[in-house]
């Protein structure tokens, strides 16, 4: 069943992404993005990364996309206003995208991931089976929290993420102030045309 679910949401995610590309209307793009992101969140759940999925829902879908939609509403002259891209650009982009995809596909197909994983696993100390099971069952909240606090019960000897965590907090504060400053009300420039 999980396989079916995976394919369902994988197709939804890809479809959302492709829809984003194909849509000419920004608000539809946003809606497609929501679909895509939500599907990705489900994929996270399926992968056992409950916390990341919840974060994806909370921060991305509930925060960032809302922000984007706000931006759309504040900047679009009319709901139907569309900025058409020239077909040449579109074809070029499509060509590049296909090439890109081909390269990535080539890479994905060219690497023996399982062997690599085994090599890496062999290089690392054996983990407790219970914890591995926890992680695969989505019980990631506590380990993640501990990792962010600098404790790694799942990987003895590995470093935590306390410093990045703090840096990101400060970064967020800076962004808060900076965004408020940038977006503050200013006198509008009279349009030249």
């Amino acid at each position: 069943m999980s396989v079916a679910l995976f394919w369902l949401f994988a197709i939804l995610a890809c479809g959302g992404a492709i829809s984003v590309v194909l849509c000419q209307n920004v608000s539809r793009m946003a809606a497609s993005l929501i679909l895509c992101l939500a599907s990705v969140a489900v994929l996270y759940f399926l992968l056992g990364a409950d916390f990341v999925g919840a974060t994806q829902l909370m921060v991305y879908v509930g925060g960032t996309v809302v922000l984007l939609i706000f931006g759309i509403m504040l900047t679009s002259s009319s709901p139907s206003h569309q900025l058409r891209t020239s077909p040449a650009d579109g074809f070029l982009a499509a060509g590049i995208g296909v090439l890109f995809l081909a390269i990535v596909a080539f890479t994905i197909g060219g690497v023996d991931w399982a062997a690599n994983s085994q090599k890496l696993a062999a290089a690392e100390p054996a983990r407790q089976g219970q914890q591995q099971q926890d992680l695969s069952h989505g019980m990631t909240t506590r380990p993640l929290a501990l990792a962010l606090m600098g404790v790694r019960p799942d990987k003895p000897g590995a470093g935590g993420y306390l410093l990045p965590f703090e840096i990101v907090s400060v970064h967020l504060l800076v962004v808060l102030i900076g965004a408020a400053y940038l977006a503050r009300t200013k006198r509008r420039v009279v349009e030249n045309q």
């Binding site: 999925g53 919840a54 509930g62 709901p79 926890d134």
Partner: protein
């Protein structure tokens, strides 16, 4: 997320009844995941649809009583208790209209988004011990995230209507909802901090007091509820205010004031789609009340250890049913409070709405969060124990209520982490 947990939930449900034969028969069928999911959905759908009908009727009756009138009296008998059903039938029969300027796809999708988000949140609500459709580690977090999805539905509704009224209403509404999510989330985090887990079922279990303790110390078991925590009751009040606003309920419903502002983002909606929004709204009311109950008011705990005692004494099914009843009662009470508040207080202006949130509730919530964090530490420094009462501290009590699919290792990791 574990899809298998649904099966285990069912297994547990069946295992904990006192009718072993029935269980054996049922478990031997070995339902596939798809039928199980369908069963779950239908069950939750019933749970999801019921409150809307009941509370819409209750609202009418309450408003009638508050306004010194009778409210619905005829439909379905004496109390007009089938009024909601009749309304629903009427709305379903209505033509599915969309304005010509509307973005049709989005216009039709918006109510669905709202309803789906609200419905999904029910999945993680523990009606009784273990009685959650999906028991996950990150329960509360996920619920809040899903509630946040509602905002998107609102915005899409307003935007896709192709109407200025709808757009303005949606903007106001979404701004309000997004803003109030912040203090609400912070307040909801306070019991989480006290409990040390995001799993709502776990949080409720931590609030269960034992009768033995009551006899030993004389402290009533319901004193374990986080509401009785020195910070908890303040956080509860703050949370409840924010939850009310987040559900677009009066007195924070200026954005969709139907009598004055043509119903805000709902302007262009009618019929079944319009009713979806209200379905979602009343479901949300019950949902946030349920969260409040779980976080602060002991959830399915009766307050005297009865449910817990029944379960421990082998009366699992009975205990769970009793717990679900108690939980529903508590949540309904809170919904009634919301209804009561709605018909009592006047609306406040949109700027006042925003001001209340940004200038008062957020700082208060932050201060409470800090207090809740520092309080046990300060107590530990002064009294030598992290709580006022001489009962067992939280960390010890969690080990009492073991769950079969919650291995000890999790707890040991937690205590290990705390020790470090």
């Amino acid at each position: 997320m574990q899809l298998l947990s649904a099966e285990s939930w069912l297994a547990q449900l069946l295992n904990s009844t006192s009718l072993p034969d029935l269980f054996n028969a049922l478990t031997s069928i070995q339902l596939g995941p798809v039928p199980l999911a369908i069963i779950h959905t239908l069950l939750i759908g019933a749970v999801f649809g019921l409150p809307a009908g009941v509370f819409i009727w209750a609202e009418r009756k309450v408003s009638g009583r508050i306004q010194d009138r009778l409210g619905p009296t005829r439909t379905g008998g004496r109390f007009g208790w089938l009024q909601s059903l009749a309304d629903g039938l009427k709305l379903i029969q209505k033509e599915d209209l969309a304005p010509s300027a509307a973005d049709k796809a989005l216009f039709f999708a918006a109510p669905t988004v709202v309803v789906v988000a609200s419905f999904l949140a029910y999945m993680f609500l523990p009606f009784s011990d273990g009685w959650a459709a999906v028991g996950v580690d990150v329960g509360l977090f996920l619920i809040l995230g899903l509630l946040a999805l509602e905002v998107i539905g609102v915005i899409l509704a307003g935007y896709s209507s192709g109407s200025k009224w709808a757009l303005f209403g949606a903007m106001r509404e979404s701004a309000q909802m997004v803003s109030y999510e912040i203090p609400m989330g912070i307040c909801a985090l306070i019991p989480i901090v006290l409990a040390g887990t995001l799993d709502l079922n776990e949080v409720v279990r931590l609030q269960v007091g034992s009768f033995a303790d009551f006899r030993a110390t004389g402290i009533p078991p319901f004193f374990n509820w986080f509401f009785f925590h020195p910070v908890g009751w303040l956080a509860f009040i703050c949370y409840f205010v924010c939850a009310t606003a987040s559900c677009k309920r009066a007195p924070f419903d200026l954005a969709e004031a139907e009598s004055e502002l043509v119903a805000g983002f709902l302007t262009e909606y009618s019929g079944m789609r319009w009713s979806f929004f209200f379905l979602a709204e009343y479901a949300s009311m019950f949902l946030v009340s349920g969260i409040a109950v779980s976080l602060f008011l002991g959830g399915w705990d009766d307050g005297f250890g009865i449910v817990h005692g029944l379960k421990e004494n082998g009366q699992g099914l009975l205990g769970n049913l009793l717990g679900a009843l108690i939980f529903t009662m508590k949540a309904s009470k809170l919904v009634l409070v919301q209804i009561w508040v709605r018909w009592t207080l006047p609306r406040i202006r949109i700027d006042q709405v925003m001001e209340t949130c940004l200038k008062y509730l957020i700082p208060i919530a932050c201060a409470l969060f800090l207090a809740a964090t520092i309080y046990p530490l300060a107590l530990a420094q002064t009294l030598g124990r992290p709580q006022l009462t001489p009962t067992k501290p939280l960390g010890d009590r969690t080990s009492i209520s073991q769950n079969t699919d919650r291995p000890d290792s999790t707890q040991s990791v937690a205590s290990k982490g705390v020790a470090e």
